[in-house]
């Protein structure tokens, strides 16, 4: 376990540094001393752990990898939560909910207005989302996919150096590639937003929140009123990109057209955004009733913004209640599916839905042709029984976890519908979906009005979403820890 603690120490030190940075920004009255001390303590403990376990090396086995995931996603929000609590005065459970929501890029918030939030917390929340996006990509590439959890393809080789001499150098290069791509997208998003005359602070925070598909509000102003009119267009582009696979992004940067064209998951994802964008635009235009109220161009813009936000599980809305223009059942399904695998978006992913759909069709064909043999490839991915079983196991786990979450939340919230939507919003890491106005104000329990137990359950669901559930089960494998079956 020494390696697990060593890896965790690096991330905690990084988080401590970011908390310190935000504490220095502080309030208008000056830096926040308590948060600075807390950040210092976090960094100090991390350094102690790092050196105490420095003999552990950098190799993780399957269970250790899963254990690291659990430690990071469960405990990394803790120092952030303490910092938020100190800055805002909310309870520790509320602060943990806020921190978990930020780190898992869920975007759910107990604050109904950004004005209630000190600048330091606003920055910390945005940085946490960005870091959470990076952590999501790294863990999926380096732990979840290689372990075969949830049937994700073992595509890490795409980002690994060909002339690798050891697994460490290959992993290091992969981490560097992911971080560089992610950073480059953030920088581009920031630059484009600045060019679009978005104020610097908003541009910085928006770029962090958008590329991570976090979706937490950074201003009380409508997003399309920030900057010179192109802000929403830039956000559509980068929200869409955030939901695409890093592998596809890498092909895009490298100009590998042949490989780009073969990445079918991305094209289904883009097609979904396109169709949903048109549907939203038509519905919005129809609801508006007149071109004087909403012009067709504006309806298209809003439609595509809402579609990109929804499918990439970012959660931004141009106006309150944009998502609820369509029936909740349809939006719920879209959110549950989420974006592409190997991206920062949540949900089951298009890849897994594709595999399940393809497998179901094959099985239905077996009713007519019991001896039929079907393609062993899904796109360019070789499918074996193990992969298909892993995907279905994942789907079963998602169903069980979200249903249990729904059952529990339905005891605490006003209606079953609220509970179902909250449960799936948390699991798919798309808090904005629940927060939208599905019912009249007052009847819909907002995150701020929930009790601590509900918020804790939702925090757990957010973490399970990022752990792909099965990582948790693998981390606490009885055979591994007790040596018995």
């Amino acid at each position: 376990m020494a390696t697990v603690f060593r890896f965790a120490a690096v991330w905690f030190a990084l988080m401590g540094s970011l908390i310190a940075l935000c504490a220095l920004i502080g309030r208008e009255s000056g830096p926040e001393a308590v948060n600075l001390i807390m950040a210092g303590l976090t960094i100090h403990i991390s350094i102690c752990f790092y050196f105490a376990f420095r003999r552990g090396g950098w190799q993780l086995n399957r269970v250790q990898g899963c254990m690291l995931l659990v430690i990071l996603w469960v405990f990394l929000p803790l120092p952030v939560a303490i910092s938020i609590k100190q800055s805002t005065g909310i309870t520790i459970i509320q602060a943990y909910f806020e921190a978990t929501s930020a780190l898992t890029t869920t975007g759910a918030s107990i604050f109904s207005s950004v004005k209630q939030i000190p600048l330091s917390v606003l920055v910390l929340r945005s940085i946490c989302q960005w870091l959470g996006g990076l952590l999501t990509l790294m863990t999926v590439f380096m732990i979840i996919a290689p372990a075969g959890l949830g049937g994700l393809p073992k595509k890490q080789g795409v980002l690994a150096r060909h002339e690798k001499t050891s697994s460490y150098s290959a992993s290091g290069y992969m981490a560097y590639t992911i971080a560089a791509t992610y950073f480059l997208f953030t920088l581009l998003c920031f630059l484009f937003l600045v060019i679009a005359q978005t104020p610097l602070q908003e541009a910085f925070l928006l770029s962090l929140v958008t590329v991570s598909s976090g979706g937490m509000a950074i201003s009380d102003m409508p997003l399309d009123s920030l900057g010179g009119g192109f802000t929403s267009f830039i956000l559509v582009v980068f929200m869409t990109l955030a939901g695409t696979s890093v592998i596809w992004q890498r092909y895009l940067f490298a100009g590998r057209e042949d490989l780009l064209l073969r990445h079918r998951e991305t094209y289904f994802y883009l097609l979904a955004i396109f169709i949903l964008g048109i549907v939203y635009a038509l519905t919005l235009f129809d609801r508006a009733g007149s071109v004087h109220v909403l012009s067709p161009v504006k309806a298209l813009g809003e439609g595509f913004f809402t579609a990109a936000s929804l499918v990439s599980t970012t959660g931004f809305e141009i106006r309150n209640g944009s998502f609820s223009v369509l029936p909740a059942s349809i939006v719920l399904m879209i959110v549950l599916v989420g974006g592409c695998s190997f991206s920062t978006s949540g949900g089951i992913t298009f890849y897994r839905i594709g595999i399940m759909f393809s497998h179901s069709i094959k099985d239905l064909n077996k009713l007519v042709y019991p001896n039929s043999v079907h393609r062993s490839y899904f796109g360019t991915q070789k499918m074996n029984v193990q992969t298909i079983k892993a995907v279905w196991t994942y789907f079963f786990s998602v169903t069980v976890v979200t249903m249990l979450g729904t059952l529990f939340l339905s005891l605490r919230l006003n209606s079953f519908e609220e509970a179902l939507l909250a449960s799936i919003a948390a699991f798919s890491n798309m808090g904005g979906f629940y927060a939208t106005g599905w019912q009249e104000t007052g009847q819909w329990t907002q995150f701020s009005a929930m009790d601590d137990l509900s918020r804790f359950v939702l925090s757990c669901l957010m973490i399970l979403g990022r752990l792909h559930i099965l990582a948790l089960l693998a981390a606490f494998n009885k055979t591994y820890w007790l040596g018995s079956r």
Binding site: Y369, N371, S372, V373, R375, S376, Y377
Partner: protein, 459 residues
């Protein structure tokens, strides 16, 4: 002509048999002692035991003086190296290799066989040749054998005369009067165990397999006059998912959008490989002799069942079973030369002999003169040949009725400036015409002579 053949298997033996019968100087090399012993006993050829690609063996076989090397061993790589050695060390003018692995034959690797790299003049892929033959037959339902010439504009079609065939028992000279729409020439008749080129007084009989030369667009009408109104097969069941089955299924998928193809493959791994390479075809895993599986493949409603497994007996039996279940037409791949004679009595409508197809393809390049294409019929009993008439040819400028053609040779069609001419007695052949001729085996040498390139041509 001196020919060295590497490989004394079925194809090598068949080529040696044909070439030696025509008086060529043939030498055969094979690593199998038994095969060499057998070929020495049966044929009038020289034969050596040895590795076909080794320079020592090739030298021993006298490849230094050879006009042609034909490499038809079991292994593609041996065939390729044999051609390379024959070119680099012995400067053999013409090298023919049989290559089965489709990877070598993909269009984007075609540079491999260029003069600079691996100088093989002719590559024969049996699977592709058999596949193409099969497809030609599928596209011409009702025919037993179809081969095209003159860039596909002329076809020589083998048609089986059933009892209800309207044109039987009518002298050929009266056919054009009785059937004015019959715009074709009957060039050959296979009756019982013999093959002959008919004279104008001859008649076709029920049970005959008649070969007619016809323009491409007239094939359907001709078949109709012979009593064959079968429609193009859209529901096809293929037994055997080997290279040929895969080739045929892929072609049908790409070219017949309405077609429904099903493949039955006995090996699970191969079935998966086939399924991976096809989009719409239903691939079933199991034995083609399993009645339940044949029913699952909707054989009873199929327009055509094609049995292409490696096992002749399975092919024959699966076709018989399919026919009994109600399948419209059946076709079997048969390697055993004894089986074709009984297929018709078993209800199998047509058969294909891969060895014959390969030999036919190779012979095309062995023939001298301006021979452009050759198709061997009925196990080499006759050949359909496309040749180009040169200015020096004895055929030029003389009406066909005045030509002193040997018995056993018949001109079926002429291709001139993009137009197909079905010849009559008044037709004359002009220089550069492409002539489709049907010749009995013993007359092939005479056909070569008629189209030879004489010294006058260069004068």
């Amino acid at each position: 002509m001196k020919v060295v053949i590497c490989g004394a298997g079925q194809v090598g033996f068949g080529i040696a048999e044909r070439l030696s019968a025509e008086g060529n100087d043939v030498t055969v090399i094979d690593s199998s002692d038994a095969l060499i012993h057998r070929i020495r006993e049966i044929l009038d050829v020289r034969a050596y035991v040895g590795h076909g690609a080794h320079p020592d063996t090739l030298q021993l076989a006298g490849v230094g003086d050879a006009d042609m090397l034909i490499a038809v061993t079991l292994y593609d790589e041996v065939n390729m190296v044999a051609c390379q050695v024959a070119h680099s060390l012995f400067n053999v003018p013409t090298k023919i290799a049989r290559i089965r692995a489709q990877s070598y034959l993909k269009p984007h690797w075609q540079d491999l066989f260029s003069r600079q790299h691996m100088p093989i003049d002719v590559i024969i892929s049996p699977e592709v040749e058999v596949g193409e033959m099969l497809l030609r037959r599928l596209q011409v339902p009702g025919s037993d054998d179809t081969v095209t010439f003159a860039d596909g504009n002329i076809a020589v079609v083998g048609i089986h005369c059933n009892d209800d065939c309207p044109v039987v028992e009518t002298p050929l000279r009266q056919l054009s009067d009785l059937f004015p729409k019959l715009d074709c020439v009957v060039v050959g008749i296979h009756r019982g165990q013999s093959m002959f080129v008919p004279k104008s007084d001859d008649s076709m009989l029920a049970g005959d397999l008649v070969y007619v030369a016809v323009e491409r667009h007239q094939i359907r009408r001709t078949l109709g006059i012979f009593g064959h109104d079968e429609k193009q097969a859209n529901r096809v069941v293929i037994a055997g998912g080997g290279n040929i089955g895969l080739y045929v299924a892929r072609f049908i998928e790409n070219n017949q959008t309405r077609a429904k193809v099903k493949i039955i493959e006995s090996k699970k791994d191969r079935a998966i490989t086939v399924a991976d390479q096809l989009q719409k075809t239903v691939v079933l895993n199991g034995s083609a002799l399993d009645e339940a599986l044949l029913a699952e493949a909707d054989t009873q409603q199929a327009d055509m069942m094609v049995s292409l497994t490696n096992n002749d007996e399975v092919n024959v039996l699966s076709c018989v079973m399919a026919k009994q279940m109600g399948c419209n037409r059946t076709m079997a791949l048969l390697n055993n030369q004894g089986y074709p004679a009984i297929t018709r009595s078993l209800g199998i409508d047509a058969h294909i002999n891969p060895r014959q197809v390969t030999i036919s393809k190779i012979l095309q390049h062995v023939r001298k003169g301006r021979i452009r294409a050759v198709h061997s019929v009925q196990g080499g009993m006759a050949e359909a040949i496309e040749a180009e008439a040169l200015e020096t040819s004895s055929l030029i400028g003389i009406p066909l009725r005045d030509l002193d053609l040997e018995a056993g040779i018949r001109i079926g069609a002429i291709y001139r400036n993009g137009a197909v001419i079905i010849p009559t007695g008044d037709t004359t052949i002009k220089a550069r015409d492409r002539v489709v001729i049907f010749a009995e085996a013993q007359q092939v040498k005479n056909v070569e002579q008629m189209f030879r390139v004489s010294l006058d041509f260069f004068g």
